[in-house]
Amino acid sequence: MQVSVYRYNPDVDEVPEMRTSALELPEGKDLMVLDVLELLKIEDPTLSYRRSCREGVCGSDGINMNGKNGLACITPVSQVAKRGKLVLRPLPGLPVIRDLVVDMSQFYRQYEKVDPFLQNDSPPPAQERLQSPEERAKLDGLYECILCACCSTACPSFWWNPDKFIGPAGLLQAYRFLADSRDTATAERLAKLDDPFSVFRCRGIMNCVSVCPKGLNPTRAIGKIRSLLLQQGT
């Protein structure tokens, strides 16, 4: 297997480079891309990347594999390698700290903008705030996001205006709280989103849906936010 990896150490390198090496993968096993990175790191301990749970739960190892974003730990090599070649790059559109490690500050700033916490101005009941099973079901497909940033960094609108367009991950979370029957800040949340950039920069190309490792659908959530804005505005 020929593995080509983006290498860049800003302290030493003037420009980034793609470093290619041949790797013998064990026969009869379909390794995950993270396993390939681990093998590479044995050969070259200076290779940097993030990883933690290695089972698609923590969202640390989002990278770009042969042009498509995904989690290295749950992506089999056979699924992404083409003609025996694997090309690994950092998530696009975010500054590189080193090799495959990106600075996610901008991504988190957009997440912060949607106030990703429950807001309720009524006095709290003695026990928890209850929901009917139907109300709870509305949160399915929304709360599962692990903030790996695969979707937002696959979105051209986020590449062009990352300071203004919230991005699919942030908007999925925005709708998660708009759809929550226990949240009472709907009007305030929607007022924050009614500008030409925050929501309406989404052109509906669905790159986010195509790359989400959890199988979520941010485009649908964005459509529902638009419907809520329309209902409120008319």
Binding site: P95, W160, D163, D194, D195, P196, V199, R201, L230, G233
Partner: protein, 140 residues
């Protein structure tokens, strides 16, 4: 909050602050722009259906038929509304393209000047289009 460039290579902004604002947006509201764009698209589509329907229904039409059709008050009003809808629709689309692509990353420190020129050019073209079309419909 200021945003600093994240592009990795061949970027001309040298890590500068990206300044794209919504000052020149048609309505400055994402929802209003969205509604204007959809409604204007429906108007343009209906107008196209009417005009092509007329052409199809009258294969042997004469110049007099055409003048009569477009000279009716209904079509004069419909044509005027369609031209204005096209201007609004085009401005929203072109503004979106400009604020996506004409940025520091590609145009360096002159990005704002380039965007101003681009938007002025778009406005001029749309103004000429409306100024040419409207008197045509009203027989001036």
């Amino acid at each position: 909050m200021d945003y600093f460039c994240t592009h990795r290579a061949r970027c001309r902004c040298s890590g500068g602050v990206v300044v794209v604002t919504n000052v020149t947006s048609l309505t400055r509201s994402g929802l209003a722009d969205f509604v204007v764009q959809r409604v204007s698209a429906v108007i343009i589509g209906l107008y196209a259906l009417c005009v092509f329907g007329f052409f199809l229904a009258n294969p042997n039409m004469s110049h007099g038929d055409l003048v009569g059709y477009f000279g009716s008050t209904t079509m004069q009003l419909f044509s005027t509304v369609t031209v204005l809808a096209t201007v609004g629709h085009a401005w929203i689309g072109m503004w979106t393209i400009g604020t996506d692509y004409i940025q520091l990353h590609y145009f360096g420190e002159h990005a704002t000047a380039f965007r101003f020129l681009y938007q002025s050019g778009c406005l001029l073209v749309l103004f000429v289009y409306a100024a040419w079309a409207l008197p045509l419909f009203w027989g001036q």
